[in-house]
Symmetry: C2
Subunit: 526 residues, 2 copies
Amino acid sequence: MNIPQLDTDTGTRSGASIVLETARDAGVDVCFANPGTTEMPFVGALDTVAGVRSILGLFEGVCTGAADGYGRMAGKPAMTLLHLGPGHANGVANLHNARRARTPILNIVGDHTRDHLKYDAPLTSDIESLARPVSVWYRSVAREADLATDTADAISAAMGAQRGVATLVLPVDLQSVKVRDAASPAVVRPAAESFDHARVERVADLLLSGHRAVLLMGGRALSARGQRAAARIAAATGATCFSETFPARAERGGGLPDIDRLPYFPEPALAALADRRVVLAGALAPVTYFGYEGIPGELARPEDIVMLAEPGDAADEALEALADRIGAPGNAVGVQVERWEVEEGPLTPQAVGRVLANALPDDAIVSIEGGTCGYPFVTASARARRHTILTNTGGAIGQGLPVALGAAVACPERRVFALQSDGSAQYTIQALWTMARERLPIVMLIASNRRYGILQTELARSGLPADTPHASRLTLLDDPPIDWLALSRGYGVAAERASTVQALSQALDAALAHADGPRLIEMCLS
Amino acid sequence: MNIPQLDTDTGTRSGASIVLETARDAGVDVCFANPGTTEMPFVGALDTVAGVRSILGLFEGVCTGAADGYGRMAGKPAMTLLHLGPGHANGVANLHNARRARTPILNIVGDHTRDHLKYDAPLTSDIESLARPVSVWYRSVAREADLATDTADAISAAMGAQRGVATLVLPVDLQSVKVRDAASPAVVRPAAESFDHARVERVADLLLSGHRAVLLMGGRALSARGQRAAARIAAATGATCFSETFPARAERGGGLPDIDRLPYFPEPALAALADRRVVLAGALAPVTYFGYEGIPGELARPEDIVMLAEPGDAADEALEALADRIGAPGNAVGVQVERWEVEEGPLTPQAVGRVLANALPDDAIVSIEGGTCGYPFVTASARARRHTILTNTGGAIGQGLPVALGAAVACPERRVFALQSDGSAQYTIQALWTMARERLPIVMLIASNRRYGILQTELARSGLPADTPHASRLTLLDDPPIDWLALSRGYGVAAERASTVQALSQALDAALAHADGPRLIEMCLS
C-alpha cells in the first residue's frame, strides 16, 4: 500500500482527500470511525483535510448508532468509517434502526484494492449483500474520476426523498490514488420537504363531516409546531392524537400538548384506533410489532386510513394548513410545566420517570431504550421542561447509548440523558469509552433489573412459564450480577448507584453539576 | 403468539421441539443463544426437550464466536439462536471467521410469523441477504412438514463437503405450531473425508525428481499425525514446511516438529516460497492478506502450485501416504519439551510468549487473537507441552474470547487460555460474563498496549506518519486508559495485573490453581 499525502510539489491529492473534501463541503463534518488497515489512507487524509472531526469507537455499532443520533439531531449526515464486510456487519443493527428512523448517514466502508478481490483473501466479503438491507443507496467506487461525484451522490441519496443510509464503498487503492486535477465540485441536492394541499382538503372534508378520527403522528409532525397544530385540530374536532410508538425524534414538555405514543401491545393499540378514521401525519400505517395469533397485523383497516402527509413530507406544515383550513382556534392548551411530587421510597419505574422528568433542564435530549422505565418516563415527561426524546425505531437493541453519544456531538449546548435498560445496554457498552474520551457530559441512567423484561413479558403472554430452568437461564441476568459501577470505571466514566427516590434525585443533581464528561447512575429497581 | 408445549393429552409437539430433537439426535447438543421475542417458542422447547445445553450470550458475536470455537474443537456443530436480521447481523463478523475456518455451525435465526412479513414491521429485515455471505447453506422453513428435514439438511450441509455455517430461519409461527405426527427421523449425512491417491503419486514424483518444495499445511494436515508425516517428508527430501498463516486449529508442542506459520507480511512470505514448488496439504493457494502496490497478490505462481489435499480432505492421511510412498524413514525428530529461561524484567512480547509456553499444562488450548503477543508465543510454543492453538481465520476481530469460551464448553477436561490483544478484545467483551456464568476455567491474558498496533504498523508501512493528530486519535487507546481489572470485575471475573516476568508467571500459577471459573490477567507490556 502506497499512500500519497497532499503533495505540494506536484499539486496532487489523494482519493481519500477528495471524498473527505466533497463531504465536508456538503456539510458532513463528523466521522464516527472504527478503521482497519484498508481505511488507513482515509485516516491519513483526516490529517490533511481540515474541518472534519473524527471520533473513534471501539466497536462499529457504537459508530453507526452515534451517526444515527447525530443525524436525528443535526438534520444532516455524519460519516461512519468501517472496515470491510465484517466491520460493516457489526454496524448493521444500528443502521437498521437508522433506516427505520430515516436518518441520513454517509456510511463509508473501506475495501481491498480492486485487483485483490479476485483472490478471496481472508477479509474478502460480499459487502453489497450485507449493506443493501439497511441502505437506501449503495455504490462501490469504480474509478478515480468518480470519487467526488459518487460521494456527492451518496450524500444526495442520504438526504433524498428516501432519506436514510447511503453506503459508499472505497477500495483502498482509490483512497490512496494520486489525483492531479480534481473534478469540479460535485453537487449535493437534498430533497425539498413539502406537503400535498389536496390531501389537506380531503382530510379537512373528512373532519368537518363529523368523522371520528385519530391523528397518527411521526416525522416532522412531532416537532413543536406539528404538535401544536395537531392539538388545535383535536380541540376543534374531537380527534385524538397519537405519536407513532417509536418515534425517531419527538419534542416533549415545555407547555406542549401531551401526545401519547400508540401503545406497543396490540390489544390497547387496537382499542385506541377502533371505530375511527386514522389520519397519517408523517407516520406509516400502523401494524403490530410482532405477529400474534388471532390478532390482525394491521391495526387499522386500509379503508379507514387517510394520508395527510408521508414520512418524508413537511407534516408539521400540513397539520398547520389543516388546522387553518378547518378554522381551528389559534391557541391549543398545552400541559403546564410542573414538578411531580414523588414520595421518598424504593425506585419503582414510575418514580424513575417522575424524578427524571423533574430533573430535566431546558432543552435536554433523552435517548430512551427499553420499556421498563421508558414508558413511565414518557408518561411523566409531558410536565417536564422542553426536551427532545429519541427512541429505538427499529427494535435492534444496543441503540440507546450510541444515539445519546451522537446527539451530544450534534448538540454540545444541550444536556443529553440516556434512559437505558441494562440488557440492551450491553450490546454497545463500548460507547462509554468514547463518551469519556470526547468529554461528553451525558448522564446515563441504567435501569438495572437484571433480566430481559420484555422476554419474560412475552413468555407470559404466550402462556409459557418463565421460571422453568432454560427459560429462566435465558431471560435472567443475575448470575453473575453485572457490576455497573465497575464496568463504568473500566471505561473511565464516573458512576454511582441509586436505590431510592432521594438517592436518584441527588445523583442527578450531582451529575448535572458537572459538564466535563459522562456520568453513569445505576438505578437498582424495586 | 400462542406457544403450545408438549401436550401429553393429545400427543402433539411444538415445531421448535421437532427442530431441537432432530438436532439433538444428530449430536448437536449445545445452543449459544441470544434470543428475542420471536425465539420464545424455541426457548420454551429447551425446557421440554432434554439433552441440549443452552448458554446465554449478552451479544450475538459472543454466541457465534463461541459456536466457532466449539465446532473447531468438537468437530461437530453447535447451534446458535439469534433474533431476526439485526441479531444475526451482530453475529456476522464471527460467522465470517467460522466460514474461513470451515467450522460447522447450525445457525438458527428466528423470524416473524410468515404472514407478518408483508407488513414490514420495525424488525422486519432481509435475513437472507445478511446471511448468504457467511453461509454455505441457507433456508427459511416454509412448511410445518419440512421442520425435521430442513433441520437435518442444515446439519448435513454444515458437515458437508463445503463445511461451514448453515443458516436455518425459523418463523415463529412454525416454532409454535402444534404437530401431531412427527415425520420419521430425518437423516443427517456428513461428508466423508478422504484423499486422492493420484495426487499423492504426482507429488511423490515431484519430490523424488529433486524439486525443491514447500509443504503448505492447513486443515487436518495440522493434526499431530499430519505434522509428523510432514516432518518425515521434510527430513527425507529437504522440503520446508509451513502452516497456513491463520490456521483454524493446529497442534503444537509435546514433541511435535516446529512447523512455523507462513509469514503475515508479503515480503518474507514471498521469500519463504521463492523458487520452490508449493505443495498444498489442506491449505488454500497462498495470497497476500491485503493488496499492496507493487507486490503480487499471489504469493506463489499458479504453475508452481501442486495440490496434494484440499482443505476438506483427510490431509493428514494424504501426508502419511506420501511419506510412505517416498520411503521416508518412520520417525521424524520433533522438538523436545523444554522450559525457556526467562530473565526477570519488564514484560516484552517475547517474554510473554515464553512465560506462557512454560506455563501450559498438558493438552491446553490457546485461542490467539492479535499479533503483538501472538507471534512471539507461537515461536516459543514449539517447546511447550502438547497443546492446540486456535487463530483468527477471517480477520474479523473480536474472535479470540468467544472462541476460547466455545472451546472450553467443548473440552471441559482441558485448560483453555485466551492470548488476546486489548483492542480486539473490546468487540466481544461481553464474553467475560458468559465465562463467569458458566464457571469456565479460562485464563485470559490481555496484552494491554493501549493502541491498535497493527494499524500503526500499516501506517508506517505506507509512509504515513502515525503521530499526526487524527491518525493518533484513531490508533491510540490510551485516553482514557481502559481499566481491565475494573471491566473484568464488572462481569464477575477475577482479575489481576502483571507488569513483570515474575508477576506474570505467578499470576499464571495462581490462575491455574483454580478451576472454578475464569481469571483475567492484564499484561502491561513494555
